[in-house]
């Protein structure tokens, strides 16, 4: 029995361990060491190195990765806890109620995505690298869910975020590399501010595992940093820039987990590190709710004009995250809503994760699954239709149950129009999914072998989504959205009919806003601002240039060096010497003028080192006495 809690460790250590053998698969990494391994081994160019038959089985190890986590989510009772005092500076793993829901849907989606990746990518170049990074991201994602302390959360978060960088740029196309760059810059900004936030939280609460009550002591700075740091991950407009670029650029299984599970951890982080339910934060809650609303409505029209089905899905994720941020913001404003709200958020996140992950995998299947038997592609389209309905929250789907779970929060909001706005957004989402299905139906397929098992796994996922409302939801929840969704369906059908009748009607709109909206639009705006600013600030610019010129001139005169390289100037002996003696002088002045920190008496109790020295002294004196006489 005592072994069972160790499942919490196995949940994230096991994928880490698997990363090693998986990294060794594929032709590129191992093909050479067959020889004596001393210096180099060349593989003749005539041998097709993409078929390393021996190392095949390693690719399938990926599938084993999420299993311990799944077991932990299913078997362990809520509240199971394991302390690891030796890890970092003390770590605790625990399965809390929200964590259990997260662990369940995260492990499930990773499992299905692993099956997809193991079968679809095994012959691709660098399959080993992809598999290893996939497992690293998985380990990070699972670790931050089971870890209860700040260290685990941040470590898992950083591991997940940085390994995903490798997933995003896996195809190494120019667009993937550009997406990777945007992703990396924003992810690092987010991570650093999250790190700062967590440090401050630890300092202000005095604990690395703060309880909600501890968190009421937080000042504005950590809250702002947490909102910013995780806002990047969540896709909070305008921090969402990376998301519509990165999710379509990544290979299909990576997109599925990026959009399905990874962006959801932002909500988990907020639930853990904001005083949810213990303190009313009207300003911050309002800000988050407003940001959520903006995100919710901003992403819908931008998504509608996309041409790439994965980009449409990415914008839909942004929009859905906006809804969840709205709910969280409302909960922050009114702590009494917390019990309902937190459960609702977890349920909604689970529902959206499964549906969105399924949709991304379905896009991949639509592109690559077999054309024969003829039933396959229609089945794929049918599956996509079902998942799209689940995503918009059509009655009797998982989405309806999830929507029902967050409804009390929305209805209890101080702003009465929020409920109406959410209903409008549901209509918009329906339109977006209609657009997605339209684009998917028109996708040209490039059939490739090996998609049988991914297809079966996908079908299982759809079955789970289909069962979701009947297992988890009350009968009263099944009929949610019975007005908004049909309205959206009708609208979508009307638009589709019109587009079918007159295909050129909507053409000018498509591709109007490229994926990554703001970042792309910012270029002409930036040029404009620059031109305008140049005209407006010319006198000031001239002054600045004159000052800089003067400084450079002075510097040049002092160092007798070209102005370009400060380092070279520093390297001149006389400059370095003057700096050194200056530092020496400042040190002397500071030491002579300053108040000594400790007087002598205190100093000896300082730090232990001096005591150690005096201990040594005693020994030395003893030594002296016994010295040869």
């Amino acid at each position: 029995m005592t072994l069972i809690p160790w499942l919490l460790v196995a949940a994230w250590v096991w994928p880490l361990l698997l990363a090693w053998p998986v990294a060794g698969q594929g032709g590129s990494w191992r093909a050479s060491s067959a020889t004596d391994g001393s210096v180099t081994a060349a593989v003749s160019s005539t041998v097709p190195i993409t078929v390393p038959s021996k190392a095949h089985w390693r690719g399938f190890l990926t599938i084993l990765g999420p299993l311990p986590a799944l077991l932990a989510a299913l078997l362990l009772p809520v509240g199971t806890r394991l302390e690891l005092p030796w890890l970092f500076l003390g770590t605790a793993l625990e399965l809390d109620p929200v964590g259990q829901v997260y662990l369940l849907f995260t492990a499930l989606l990773w499992l299905i995505a692993s099956v997809y990746s193991a079968f679809s990518l095994r012959t691709a170049e660098h399959a080993g690298r992809f598999g290893a990074l996939f497992l690293l991201a998985m380990a990070g994602n699972l670790w931050l869910i089971v870890g209860q302390d700040l260290f685990s959360f941040y470590a898992g978060f950083a591991m997940m975020g940085l390994a995903s960088y490798g997933l995003v740029i896996h195809d190494a196309t120019p667009s993937a590399l550009r997406a990777g760059k945007v992703y990396l810059v924003m992810a690092l900004l987010g991570e650093v501010s999250l790190f700062a936030a967590l440090v401050i939280i630890a300092q202000q609460t005095g604990s690395t595992e703060p309880s909600p009550d501890d968190l009421t002591q937080l000042t504005a700075l950590p809250i702002a940093l947490v909102l910013f740091g995780l806002g990047v991950k969540a896709g909070l407009v305008p921090l969402h820039l990376w998301l519509p670029l990165a999710h379509p650029a990544a290979p299909v299984p990576a997109s599925a987990v990026l959009s399905g599970t990874m962006i959801k951890v932002a909500l988990l982080g907020w639930l853990r590190f904001l005083p949810v339910g213990t303190q009313a934060l009207p300003e911050w809650g309002g800000l988050l709710a407003a940001g959520g609303l903006l995100t919710l409505f901003y992403a819908l029209p931008v998504g509608l004009v996309q041409a790439d089905p994965k980009a449409i899905l990415a914008y839909s994720s942004v929009s859905k995250m906006g809804l969840l941020m709205l709910v969280l913001g409302l909960v922050l404003m009114e702590p009494a809503l917390a019990p309902v709200g937190v459960a609702g958020i977890a349920l909604y996140a689970a529902s959206h994760a499964l549906a969105k992950g399924g949709l991304f995998l379905g896009v991949g299947l639509r592109k690559q699954a077999a054309l024969q038997p003829a039933l396959v592609q229609p089945l794929v389209l049918g599956g996509l239709l079902f998942l799209a309905l689940a995503l918009v929250g059509a009655p009797f789907t998982s989405g309806a149950v999830a929507k029902y779970a967050v409804k009390p929060v929305i209805e209890a909001a101080d702003w009465p129009w929020v409920a109406a706005a959410v209903a409008v957004s549901t209509v918009g989402t329906t339109l977006l999914m209609g657009r997605f299905l339209w684009v998917s139906a028109g996708t040209r397929t490039h059939s490739a072998p090996g998609y049988l098992w991914p297809g079966i796994a996908w079908a299982l996922l759809i079955a789970l989504v289909a069962l979701f409302p009947f297992v988890l939801g009350k009968a009263t929840s099944w009929a949610t959205n019975s007005v908004a969704v049909p309205l959206g369906v009708v609208l979508a059908t009307l638009v589709a009919l019109a587009a079918w009748r007159n295909p050129d009607w909507l053409k000018p709109l498509i591709g109007l806003i490229p994926p990554g909206d703001l970042i792309v639009l910012s270029r002409p705006v930036g040029a404009l601002v620059k031109a305008f600013g140049g005209w407006l600030w010319r006198p000031i610019g001239q002054l600045a240039a004159r000052i800089a010129g003067f400084a450079i001139d002075r510097y040049e005169r002092v160092c007798n060096e070209p102005p370009g390289d400060v380092e070279r100037g520093l390297r001149a002996w006389s400059v370095a010497g003057a700096l050194w003696i200056g530092i020496l002088a400042l040190l002397v002045v500071a030491l002579l003028s300053g108040e000594p920190l400790l007087d002598n008496g205190e100093a000896s109790s300082d730090q232990g080192g001096i005591q150690a020295d005096s201990g040594r002294q005693a020994e030395a004196i003893a030594n002296e006495e016994s010295s040869p006489d």
């Binding site: 970092f88 500076l89 470590a155 650093v192 530092i583 040594r616």
Partner: protein
């Protein structure tokens, strides 16, 4: 038991002498001596861990006359790091220099350097430290010039002169102390030292001399060319170990011997220089065109982090919070030792196989050397301070301390330095991802790749995941909650 303290100095010294006398067998002698030295260093660490501080006085004359050796937690921690890193460097060097005429010059000087390094960590006598520092500086400069290339010789000539200047200044401080207090033993001096102007002057002289040797910004001018132009194992030793010796001494003098006279103003001055080092070093690393130069500037930045701890230590009263900061400072120094050594060893392999180390042209090379690329990635993530590396915990405690003491201004420095570090590490790593067609040649060389990999791995996993032992060796009860 305390008699054994001499072994980490004596064993490499004898090995170095033997390697000098037997040039043909120098690699064999050197490797065996490296193993023995490493073992002796680790056993001292173990003894300190188990039994607490050790001390002895050589010559049997007792403390004021004889020269003391002592090993407390700080010495033991650095001794252990030096033992492991230097052993890995030795194994790597055995293969790196194999078949080269440089081997017979490398081994004796390397063992003498190692002896001096251990000597610095164990010495309890101010003048003995001067001799050790000179032995360290001379052998390091000679090793750095081993390639015989013009740039290497010019850079190491400057390094040698700077080192001489630094130790001379240190010696003048020692002279003042001996005049005033009549002893050279650190322990006795600590009992007699009071907040007098003479002690303050001596401290300023000693610290500024050592800061020159530690390459604290803006006195780092000699470091990048010297470290970037040395042979790879020597670069690793210089950046990971030699710089740490003088830093260790500053830390010990500042926080122990001169604790009665240090004050917040002077400590803030050191912190400001450290902040300058973090920003300037990281920025230069980002702009560097070559891998080894990048690593050298990154050393400048990482040294800067260590000095950020001084103002925080100065403004905290003795207690758990201060112990944590002290331990975190040591942990960062240790992590940097492992990570930078791993980084330089891997960079040396890249340079050796590719014939150059221009970052912009490394794409295919990185793909051809997966294990080496992985080492660079691991070591790089420790340099950035990503979890679970030791510098992650170091930065964590540093930032928390900055808040606790109200000196929040060190926070943006740390954050900005981290972002810049991530930028320069990913600049190298992004070359490793699929821009090139799949290469046909793969390079594997276990004897050189494994030491680099192990060092990088230790910096990330060993020191980060189990930081507790560092606290234990330093004699601080428990890791921070």
């Amino acid at each position: 038991m305390a008699d054994l303290l001499i072994l980490p100095v004596l064993v490499p010294l004898l090995g170095g002498l033997l390697a000098t006398a037997l040039p043909v067998r120098s690699a064999l002698v050197g490797t065996l001596a490296a193993l023995a030295t490493s073992l002796s260093g680790l056993s001292i660490t173990l003894l300190v861990w188990l039994h607490g501080d050790l001390g002895t006085v050589l010559g049997g004359w007792g403390v004021p006359l004889g020269i003391g050796l002592s090993a407390d937690g700080l010495s033991a921690a650095l001794l252990a790091m030096a033992s492991l890193v230097a052993l890995a460097i030795s194994i790597y060097a055995g293969s790196y220099f194999a078949g080269s005429a440089q081997a017979r010059h490398f081994w004796p000087l390397w063992l003498l350097l190692w002896s001096a390094l251990n000597g610095v960590f164990l010495a309890a006598d101010l003048f003995n430290l001067y001799v050790m520092l000179e032995l360290l500086g001379l052998s390091a400069a000679a090793l750095g010039a081993l390639t015989g290339k013009r740039e290497a010789i010019a850079a190491n000539l400057r390094y040698l002169l700077v080192g001489l200047l630094g130790s001379l200044t240190y010696l003048l401080g020692v002279a003042l102390l001996y005049t005033a207090y009549g002893t050279l033993d650190i322990g006795l001096l600590g009992e007699r030292l009071g907040p007098t102007p003479i002690a303050a002057t001596a401290l300023a002289l000693m610290v500024s001399g050592l800061a020159l040797k530690t390459a604290l910004f803006p006195l780092h001018f000699w470091l990048p060319p010297a470290h970037a132009n040395a042979p790879a194992p020597v670069s690793a030793a210089l950046s990971a170990l030699v710089v740490k010796a003088s830093f260790y001494l500053i830390l010990r003098l500042w926080t122990e011997l001169f604790a009665p006279i240090t004050d917040i103003g002077a400590a803030t001055l050191l912190g400001l220089l450290g902040a300058g080092a973090v920003l300037w070093g990281s920025w230069r690393a980002l702009r560097a065109q070559r891998l080894k130069l990048l690593a050298a500037y990154s050393t400048v930045a990482q040294i800067g982090y260590l000095f950020l701890f001084f103002p925080l230590l100065a403004s905290l009263p003795p207690g758990t919070a201060r112990d944590d900061l002290f331990a975190a400072c040591v942990l960062m120094a240790l992590t940097h030792g492992f990570a930078k050594a791993g980084f330089f060893l891997a960079a040396g392999l890249v340079q050796q196989k590719a014939g150059h180390d221009r970052i912009s042209e490394l794409g295919g090379v990185a793909q051809r050397m997966p294990a080496t690329t992985f080492s660079i990635a691991l070591a790089g993530s420790a340099l950035v301070g990503l979890p679970p590396s030791g510098s992650f915990i170091g930065k964590w405690v540093l930032m928390r301390g900055a808040f606790e003491t109200g000196q929040w201004w060190w926070l943006p420095v740390t954050v900005l330095g981290t972002l810049l570090a991530a930028a320069y590490v990913f600049r190298v790593l992004s070359r490793a991802f699929g821009l090139e067609p799949t290469p046909l040649q793969f390079v594997t060389n276990a004897r050189t790749e494994i030491p680099a990999l192990l060092l990088a791995f230790a910096s990330v996993a060993l020191l980060g995941l189990a930081a507790g032992p560092v606290w234990a060796v330093l004699g601080f009860g428990a890791a921070p909650a």
